[in-house]
């Protein structure tokens, strides 16, 4: 029973870190219509920056500043946000599919950097000994995982609130207008470029924060964590949950993470032992099929988008 609770806390904590990634993507894609295939790259920036700042000093590698974890989180988010701002400044004027290709390229470039800049990132060996919050309770899994769940849940809740507040305000209304018809939004005097850049950078920062949280939860990062499969998983979560809807992003993250874990468990039991090492490939195939089916049959996802943007409108009753 205790084991099960511990696992549940572990499962939910992991799912919530994905939910945060998903919230970032929802701001970019769901609300603003910016196609980002570099989710893994932005998460990696957040994770590595935070890890470099907070780990103890190690010979032969830059960093090791031993700073507090909270500072690492903030720096990780800021670095990823800055990165998104740069990429956005160059590419947001391009057609949607060129943006997709460029963000794809950014993720590849970040991955290469993580893999090869050994003196900074630890190369293929990654960075270990990343300080974990509540490490004193590591011997008591339930307490440790429970505390992490509370922490991650708290951060997710604050982000959810902040993104709902922003997204369901006149600001969010402009984002939605730009997504639907840029020319018409311009005619109303709304500068599409500035709003897009804000949304893209903020979304990147949220992804960076998620990357940092994950890194400090697991205590170890390596380039293997930030392959395109991560981007793909987050996209599937958002599409399944319902893009354009923050609650959908969270529901999708928990649901798809559940499906992912369950399929991993099932494949492990079902596959003959010589194939088990390859099981994770089959997991990806399963998620890919889920994505395709949702796109074809239910493109709005489980929850879909709310029709009314402004929360003030809901507060004052039916319009």
């Amino acid at each position: 029973m205790i084991d099960l609770l511990g696992y549940a806390a572990f499962f939910l904590t992991t799912a919530l870190t994905y939910a945060i990634l998903c919230l970032g993507l929802n701001l970019q894609w769901g609300m603003t219509g910016l196609f980002n295939v570099g989710v893994a790259g932005f998460a990696a920036v957040g994770a590595y920056v935070s890890a470099l700042l907070t780990t103890p000093e190690i010979a032969g590698r830059l960093g090791g500043f031993d700073l507090p974890i909270a500072l690492g989180w903030i720096a990780g988010a800021a670095a990823a946000g800055l990165c998104a701002l740069l990429v956005g400044a160059i590419t947001l004027r391009l057609r949607a599919d060129y943006l997709a290709i460029t963000t794809f390229g950014i993720a590849v470039a970040i991955d290469l950097f993580a893999l090869n800049a050994q003196s900074i990132t630890g190369g293929p060996f990654g960075i270990g000994f990343i300080p974990r919050p509540f490490i004193a309770w590591a011997g008591r899994p339930l307490l440790f995982n429970g505390a992490h769940l509370l922490l991650t849940g708290g951060v997710a809740l604050i982000l959810f609130w902040a993104l709902e507040r922003a997204g369901r305000s006149p600001w969010g209304r402009v984002l939605r207008a730009i997504r639907e018809d840029e020319t018409a939004a311009l005619a109303l005097g709304k500068s599409a470029r500035a709003y897009r850049l804000q949304a893209f950078a903020l979304g990147g920062a949220v992804m960076g924060l998620a990357g940092a949280i994950q890194a400090h939860y697991i205590g170890f990062i390596s380039p293997l964590n930030y392959v395109s499969a991560l981007t793909f998983l987050v996209w599937t979560m958002l599409i399944v949950g319902g893009s354009g809807n923050n609650a959908g992003a969270v529901v999708g993250a928990v649901g798809v993470w559940g499906l992912w874990s369950a399929s991993g468990y099932l494949l492990n039991t079902l596959l003959a032992s010589q194939y088990q090492a390859r099981g994770s490939s089959l997991q990806i195939v399963i998620i890919g099929v889920v994505l395709a089916v949702i796109l074809v049959l239910r493109p709005r996802g489980l929850l879909g988008e709310r029709r009314i943007v402004s929360r003030h409108l809901e507060e004052t009753g039916a319009p």
Binding site: A109, S281, I284, V285, L295, P299
Partner: protein, 303 residues
């Protein structure tokens, strides 16, 4: 920079160019960034590998290398069969997935779908064949000197030759055949194409078939001179996009030239000591072209 780097760059560039031909044709007609093109390259290589293996088992002696090359008749025949198979795979994917999204008129949903399908296809290969690299032949090949400081293996020369042949064939197909002209017309203006009597749905089907078989050819070539891995096509994808955009979407000569430029740039990077960041170089080329001239070298249309 010595000649050998130049030769390596040309060789790499011609495999990129070969892959980019298929990408640029399909991109211009299907009108979305198709991330599965890279995986069609991998699937094509594995199709060819499997068929060649089967043929070798059936026809005794067919697998004996055709001197001076490292591969035998089986690979040649298998490539032709695999091209057809990959074309059919691409067409099947269209019928199952992309056609339904196209009807809804959402180009960006097609990009998402292709991104997902790409990962699923690649993982399926990984599941069946394991991530371990494999080869058409384990025969050792000795590079022959071509000029001072420049050596190429016969296989590499064959790849250069085949790129040239396929480039000319594609170019002739698009400019001389009726269906090729219909494809160009569709890529330029689909609604006018309908008005002049072109069956656009048929053009789209042929485009998938052609794109798949070209991807397969590119996969076999890459497999011959490098190795066969489930990720081989995906790792090439960024370079392919860079080459196709650099050349101008829809331009076959542009794709080949773009491929050569990207290949040479990567090899220049290797020469300059940035071997580990080779793929990032195609990204830099891509960013540069998007900043300076998003329509590409041969592109005329603002798309």
């Amino acid at each position: 920079m010595n000649l050998q780097y130049l030769a390596d760059g040309l060789l790499l560039g011609s495999t990129i160019g070969l892959g980019a031909i298929g990408l640029t044709i399909t991109y211009s007609i299907l009108r979305f960034a198709n991330f599965t093109h890279g995986d069609m390259i991998s699937w094509g290589a594995y199709f060819a590998l499997t068929v060649a293996g089967l043929l070798g088992g059936i026809v005794a002696g067919a697998a004996v290398p055709l001197a001076p090359f490292s591969f035998g008749w089986t690979v040649v025949v298998a490539t032709l069969i695999a091209m057809a198979l990959t074309g059919l795979l691409a067409l099947a994917l269209d019928q199952l997935l992309f056609r339904r999204l196209r009807r809804r008129g959402s180009a960006i949903a097609m990009v998402i779908a292709s991104f997902g399908a790409s990962l699923a296809l690649r993982s399926l290969l990984e599941f069946v064949f394991t991530p371990q690299p494999t080869y058409f032949s384990t025969e050792l090949q000795f590079a022959v000197p071509i000029a001072r400081g420049l050596r190429l293996t016969p296989d590499q020369i064959a790849v250069l030759g085949l790129t040239l042949v396929l480039f000319v064939a594609c170019h002739l197909w698009l400019t001389r055949s009726q269906i090729g002209r219909a494809m160009r017309a569709t890529s330029e203006n689909p609604s006018l194409a309908r008005v002049v009597g072109i069956d656009v749905d048929r053009v789209v089907r042929i485009t998938w078939l052609l794109g798949g078989s070209l991807a397969c050819a590119s996969g076999v070539m890459t497999g011959l001179v490098v190795q066969i891995r489930p990720y081989m096509g995906f790792d090439l994808l960024l370079a392919l996009f860079a080459a196709a955009i650099l050349g101008g979407i829809g331009s076959v000569p542009g794709a080949v030239l773009g491929g050569l430029i990207v290949g040479l740039a990567e090899s220049l990077g290797v020469w300059a000591g940035a071997a580990d960041y080779r793929e990032a170089i195609s990204f830099l080329v891509l960013i540069a072209i998007l900043l300076v001239r998003p329509t590409g070298l041969f592109g005329s249309r603002a798309r």
